[in-house]
Amino acid sequence: MRIGLLTEGGYPYVSGDARLWCDRLVRGLGQYEFDVYALSRSERQENEGWIPMPPQVNRVRTAPLWTAEDDGIVHGRRTRRRFAEAYGELAAAICAPTPPGAMGAMGAADPRGPQRADDWEAVDVSEASEVSGALEMSGVPEVSEVLEASDTPDTPDTSEASEASGTSAFLEALAASDGVMGSETARHPRAAAARHSETTGHPDVVAFPEASAGTFDSEADRFAAPLYALADIARDEGGLVGALRSEAVVRTLERACRAPGALRAAREARVPDLLTVAAHLECVLRPLSLDWYEDDRLGSVDLCHAAAGGTAALPGLLARHFSGVPLLVTEYGVPLRAHYLTAAGSVPVRALLASFHGRLAAEVYRQAACVTPGNAHARRWQERCGADRAKIRTVHPGMEASRFTAVGEARESADPYTLVWVGRIEPAKDLITLLHAFAEVRRSEPRARLRIVGAPADGPDGAVCLAQCEALAARLFREEEVTEGATAVGDSPVSFEEVGGREVPGLADAYAAGSVVVLSSVVEGFPVSLVEAMFCGRATVSTDVGAVVEVIGGTGLVVPPREPRALAEACVALLRDPGRRARLGAAARARALELFTVEQNIAAFRDIYLGIVSRFPVRRLVVDEAGEPLPFGVPAEVHVPWRWTRQSRSALRVGPRWAVGVPVRATVSADAWTTLSPEAAASGREATPVATATATSSPEATAAPAPTPVSAAAPAPLPTSASTSTPAWTGKAGR
């Protein structure tokens, strides 16, 4: 199985977001092949280079998102008209106000449940037929034509036809669409096939006729159809860089903004606003011009895994549009929310860009086979932005637990009056509240100490925040120190330290130093330091922000944010009750080991991969020279959802294969096929050395108990004979 990993400003780059997670994922799933498709965010990032790649990464393709060279492509008049039409529709969709409830409609529309199985089948067939997009297109119909065709009342027939399976369904669907397209196409079967694939280029137009009755789908199509039309133009006619920067684009945007029924904010857009929006759209739509969607690139993967939503998932959307590759979207933060928080500029600019990103997110969620938020907070945002609840599966991020094992398993040896805060010092962490709370703690527990461990965040904010906190600490605790004299000379009850110093050599030592770990943030996504404290078996007091409640789940105390008194009371309660501390710490460690380890994260993704690949297999249709589909052109073993001719080295090294978490029975039978007919494997997978396949699979055959003789008793495997009789097989299906 080959996974296309899509990132934006992320994984292979040294300074990328979420690179650690991606790296662990890729290394942890050594049985799959990975192709990494990365968009870089800045020149600096590109110059800093990549982190080392494990061998299961077959290829890394990168493209800059921060610059685009004008490729000098000047389109013909016909293409320019197509482009202007598509861009105009896209602009109109962006400028249209969001209909009330459309964003959240999908979340509420759970009654669709019973329909789902049918929907999936419909998707399968439409994907299968879509693959003939690999054909040389002849007579590409205009976008409007496609839309008209899908609006005709004949479309339900198409979906009925898709109830059947395999090639016959494709032919029936073809026939049905011929009825739509008119008799002219029937005379040219190949053109008809091409046309049909164009029609189903918007699979949901055909595959979800019932669902499209709702406002949400028509609204989403209004955005999606022109987006895919632009992608088609980029693929057929070359890059869109020049076109997206042209004056025509600004004029189109202006027309869309002034159209009746446009957003109120859009109607007030001035010329500089239009320019800003056009420039931003050009930047975001750069992935359309990439050459990633050919049959030997993203067209050849079995699953696209976008490591973030938004722009990173756009190549996945297009791969799904062109080749029917299922899309999995993982979001640890919600890009739309980040966009709202970082957006700058005038009201029209912000309104239009927010509209674009909202619609893009909705389209990504709509097309994704599965959406995996990192926590419930992200999940709520996704549901709000239109993700179907049934597609969402929360996968908590995994963290390295081993380095906290020693601390977590040791008996508590810390000073029982020490509170510890660990993290990056920045305004969002609200250390001011923590210091005020600690002042209250000192009033009732004079022996208490607070150790603040962490470096200031990058940028001016961090340093300023640290300076403020130090000043406040000095002011709050100075007199006390003088009058009481309880603490050692020159030893303030509050200390600011950094990991790596003399007192705190490692991160685990920071947690080991305190009996209670405090988290006082006002903004938090997934609270990393809280999970680390849980791994260390520490009792915690944290504020109710982000995913904190979900992470802590009753194994620590949670108080409202920005309330020093509540925080202080909780801290004092824990400081005075060692038994309760111990119980909470043990429970927290157990919970973290169950939920937040790297292993659970990787296992969850392995299951999701298998689930998606089995539910949405990419059916690549093989055609002969005349454009006729070849029955049995793709043998069944191509769909075996893991690497079956070459054993993963790690599996062999670790121990017997049946002890590794890969389903054994199916593997064995697949390997038995290989053993019987090595030439089949050689002809099908040109890159696979036959000797390796045979050698590695033979110990398996002896180790496996039952099915081997059965498989051996069946000579002349059907797929092999079919494959040798089809000349196109090696070229098309060899992956």
Binding site: R337, D430, V522
Partner: protein, 391 residues
């Protein structure tokens, strides 16, 4: 973050009081009195404390995102009788009227290209070097070898100075796509220097001896680099100011067209003055038509190339250069037996208007064509967008 709102304090007045007032170094907003628990409209206080945020928001999700950064959670939203932050944000969005945002003063946008004023001085470089070279030539008139060296050094220096002047300031080409036009530009300048003399000598059956060079035209052109760059800057600044002020593309185009024409007229006037001065100083007849139209042509070509239309200038410069080259070639070709008729058009033109008419017509018509193109391209808003390469 402290300064921003106290949504969560609203239910618990005690907690709000527990917050020591004096120890907040970053407080900038006046505090709003916390709402009493059980007040009839709990959202009102929240609305009040986050009014600015709600007024600026473009949709409810933005309010939700920003409320979350202020520590408002779903749990807290329950106190305002809402299921989650989203529905609370929707209520806030519906209840707080949007305000017309005061536009940012466009000062920094206008000043952006002129932030570094070194270019204005560098614009004088080609002219200064040309004058220096001329002076050198005059001083070394009696020593031909030294004079040849001075001429070579002068040409090189002027070219380098021109390069330096065009590498910064308003005529800088961020994308470096003007490659094709350089050769034609050089040819046109060389023709301005040598062409008229050669053409008239050739028509009279020569050239038998070195013909006079039009040094006045070329030095005026070199000196005109400075007004060209200053005019381009003026155009950029004024156009950007109009861009910021205009509501629609048509309005913008309508206001930029006269600006473009007046800037070109200004440049043409400056060039005319320079030509007259150079002619008087060097005591030479000046080809106003040829040099003037060539100057305008070069400025328009550079303006268009810099502002995103690199192809048209190459075509226009190429056409003018071809016409001039053809005129010369035709005159020499007419000496072949039986071909004398081909020189008739050139002879007629020269007989009527003089030898300066050939470059005048070639460059003038090319400049006119470019001007028509420029009134379409340079009046578009995208020509005045910040170029994609620059921050």
């Amino acid at each position: 973050m402290n300064e921003l709102g106290h949504a969560d304090d609203l239910g618990e007045p005690d907690a709000a009081r527990a917050w020591p007032e004096a120890d907040e170094p970053v407080t900038t907003r006046p505090r709003t009195p916390p709402a009493r628990p059980g007040a009839a409209d709990p959202v009102k206080a929240l609305m009040h404390s986050h009014r600015e945020l709600c007024e600026r928001a473009v949709d409810p999700l933005e309010i939700a995102a920003r409320l979350e950064t202020h520590g408002l959670t779903d749990h807290a939203a329950a106190r305002f009788r809402h299921r989650d932050v989203f529905s609370l944000a929707e209520e806030l969005y519906a209840r707080v009227p949007r305000v017309e945002e005061t536009r940012m003063p466009e000062g920094e946008a206008v000043d952006a290209p002129g932030a570094h004023t070194g270019w204005a001085v560098f614009a004088l470089l080609p002219g200064a070097l040309c004058v220096a070279a001329m002076a050198g030539v005059h001083l070394t008139e009696d020593r031909p070898r030294l004079m040849a060296a001075v001429v070579a050094a002068g040409v090189l220096a002027v070219l380098l100075g021109l390069r330096a002047a065009l590498r910064r300031g308003p005529l800088r080409d961020p994308s470096n796509r003007t490659g094709g036009s350089h050769a034609w530009m050089c040819w046109l300048v060389v023709y301005a220097l040598l062409g008229d003399g050669l053409l008239s000598a050739a028509l009279e059956g020569g050239p038998d001896e070195p013909w006079p060079l039009a040094t006045a035209s070329v030095s005026a052109l070199a000196l005109a680099c400075a007004p060209a760059i200053w005019c381009a800057h003026l155009f950029a600044v004024r156009a950007r100011r109009r861009l910021a002020a205009s509501r629609g593309l048509k309005e913008f185009a309508g206001s930029v067209r006269p600006l473009l024409l007046s800037v070109l007229a200004l440049f043409l006037g400056a060039l005319g003055v320079l030509l007259a001065v150079c002619g008087a100083v060097l005591d030479e007849p000046v080809a106003y038509a040829g040099a003037g139209s060539l100057g305008v042509l070069l400025l328009l070509a550079r303006l268009l190339a810099v502002r995103g239309s690199p192809k048209a200038p190459v075509i226009a410069l190429g056409a003018a250069g071809m016409v001039e080259a053809t005129a010369l070639a035709v005159v020499f070709a007419g000496r072949l037996p039986g071909c004398s008729f081909v020189t008739v058009p050139v002879e007629t033109v020269v007989a009527v208007w003089g030898p300066g008419a050939v470059p005048g017509l070639a460059c003038g018509s090319a400049a006119l064509a470019l001007l028509i193109h420029a009134t379409r391209i340079l009046t578009g808003a995208s020509a005045h967008a910040t170029p994609p390469g620059s921050p």
